[in-house]
Structure formats: C-alpha cells, structure tokens
Symmetry: C2
Subunit: 196 residues, 2 copies
DNA sequence: GTCTATACACCGATAGAC
DNA sequence: GTCTATCGGTGTATAGAC
C-alpha cells in the first residue's frame, strides 16, 4: 500500500500536536491554577490562534478530560511501580503505597486539584478518562487485601488519612515537608488500628 | 440631640441591607457553588440591580471577604460552645473538639470551600476577616495543650486527620455519614499515638 | 489545519440622573 | 440609595477563506 505510510505520518503528527496542546495546558495550569486555563493562554503557548485548537479537541472540557486521564494514569503507573515487588512486611506494604500516593499527589498542586476537586460545575470526566482513577482504587483495594485489610471502613479511614495529609501539605506548606513528616507515623497508627 | 435617633435608624437599615445581601450570597453559593457567585444572581435575590450592591460593598471580593469572616466566626462560636465545660477525660476532650469541627465543616460544602480552599486567584481575606480563623487555631492549640498535647507535630497530625475525614465526607458521600462513622475511631487512634 | 473575523454571552465596575 | 446606561474586558465557540 502506498497510502498507509503517509497516513501514519499524518496520524503521528496529529497526536504530536495533541500532546503539545496538553503539555501547554499543564504549563498554564501550573502558572495560573487549573481552573484558570483559557484557550487563549494555551494557544499562545503552542503558537496557534484559539480557534485552531478546535481542530484537535472538541471543546475546552475535552482538554480537561484528557488531562484528567493523564493525571490518574500517571498515578496508576506510580503506584504499580511502587507496589511491584510483593512486600514481606504488612506494615511496610501499607507504607509503600501510602508514600507513593503522597509523593505523586504532593508533587503537583494543579494536578491534584484536577484529580480530586471539582474544577468547574460543568466538567464531568468521561468514562475513558475516569477508568484509570477506578483502577487506582482497585489497586489500593487489592493491595490492602493481600495483607488482610478488607473492611470497607478500613479502606475509608486509610484513604481519608493519607488524603488529609496531602491536602494539608499542599495548603499549608507547599513545597515543604511539614506534613510529609507525619506520614509514616500516621500509617503506623493505622497499622496498629488494623491489627497488623 | 435630634439627629441621633434618625442616624440610628439609618445605620440599622444599612446593616440590615448588608445582611440581606450576604444571606442572598450564601443562597447563591449553595445553589451554584461558592466560585460561581455573580453580582447579578445576588442582586436578583435581593430585588436590586447589580450596580446597587456597590452602595453596600466596595467590590465582589468585599462580599467574599465578609462571608469568609462569617464562616470562621461561626466555626469559632461552635467550637467555643462545644468546648465550654472543661472535659474531665483527655480522650473525650479531643473527641468533643474534633466532632464539633467535623459537624460544622460538613454541614455546608460551599462554606467549607470558602474557608479552606482557594476560591479565586485574586481573593485574599483581609486581616479582620482572617482574625476568627486564627482564633479557631488558637482555641484548638490551647484546648489540646490543656490535656498535655503541645507538640507541633501532634497538632499537625490531628488537624490533617480530621480535615481529611471532612474532605472525604464532602467529596465522596455528601449528606451521608460514611466517613463520619470513622471519626471517633480516628480520634481514638490519635489519642493512643499521643500517649493519652 | 490554520487563519481572520465574528458571534454571543457573560462579567465586574463606573458615571450620572433621579 | 437605587436606578439606567454603558464601558471595557474576557471567555468559548462557529463560519468561512485560504
């Protein structure tokens, strides 16, 4: 086939442009906050005019949607890498996952807001973008089940405590380690509570 | 003086109108979210035209500022009432304050967002509006000090855990009690950790 | 696919009559 | 103090030429 190679190049270029737009969107989000992204700012950064973005994304929310998917996929990858080797000690297994999530969440405030807070009233993630988010929760559920923690209440408490430390760190000491220092202590507390 | 009584009536009416505007703003916040308040929506609800609001508030952010002060003042009042009688048991003292804060925070999502999250990039609370927020933290610090908890790290952990349960409750089970059910357990855990 | 031009809907805020 | 009228700006999105 003669058509195929040129199709490939076109498709490559197209997805490369999409990636450029998403990268630019993340830059804007880091500078002005996730809720303050505008098509003008994104277009400026890619060297386009705002209407041209519509050749690659159907709407602004479609950009948010792709970013949402990227954020949770990155989290899933980070947790998979961290929980790769099966941990011998149950307490260490709990700590490894908690630290990995904390590190990923705290590393990027804008990303964390997109992942966990409602950014705008109308934006709702699509099922495809939402999938890696569900996968993260499933990974957590399975990982804790392996060390004998299966109660729904225990999962709720675990996630709320780690999430609380993340939010406190980002809100009250961004870039610091004031609440990061409490993470291992909190997880030890939880392990005691779970009877490990 | 003949002038004084009429001045009083005028001042009363003025502050009554201010209160009406703030009440209307809270209503809008509850319906559309704290970040989506517009002067038009507020004015409609008070039976005014948007420009007329400027006779009572210097700007939209001045309205946010007053609301911020109200929210934290209400929290301060709630905590003072809850921690009024000196508690005999240290663990119960911890629980009383945690429950009071949790209850107040969870009761109003819009209010909680205004109190703890950044609503817009340009809004910064004035020192006067910020004062009751500082008073709440001081009350917490003193209350825990009375039962022997004085370490900064302990305060950080306590506030992050309670705050984490609040956020989880509002985000994942608004109006329910899925995370509220974990509150006493979490506080018991903390009491153990603090050696009480 | 990118551009110009523009529609369309908002928003916060100000000026000035009453 | 409230009103009408309006300014000046921003935002998403579409139409149509190239």
């Amino acid at each position: 086939m003669l058509v195929s190679p040129s199709r490939d190049r076109a498709a490559e270029r197209r997805s490369a442009t999409r990636r450029e737009i998403l990268d630019a969107s993340w830059e804007v989000a880091h500078e002005k906050g996730i809720a303050s992204i505008t098509l003008k700012d994104v277009a400026d950064r890619v060297g386009m005019r705002p209407p041209s973005l519509y050749s690659h994304f159907a709407s602004k929310n479609a950009i948010y949607d792709a970013m949402f998917g990227q954020a949770w996929q990155g989290c899933l990858d980070a947790l998979r890498a961290a929980t790769d080797g099966v941990p011998s000690d149950p307490r260490e297994a709990m700590a490894v996952m908690g630290r990995a999530y904390f590190k990923y969440a705290v590393a990027d405030q804008a990303r964390n807001q997109l992942m966990n807070a409602r950014i705008s009233a109308d934006f709702q993630p699509s099922p495809e973008a939402y999938a890696p988010s569900l996968a993260v929760w499933e990974l957590g559920r399975v990982h804790l089940a392996l060390i004998g923690v299966t109660a729904e209440a225990d999962l709720d408490l675990y996630s709320a405590v780690v999430g609380g430390l993340v939010d406190a760190q980002l809100a009250n000491d961004p870039g610091g380690n004031r609440y990061a220092r409490q993470l291992d202590r909190a997880i030890g507390m939880l392990a005691d509570q779970f009877g490990l």
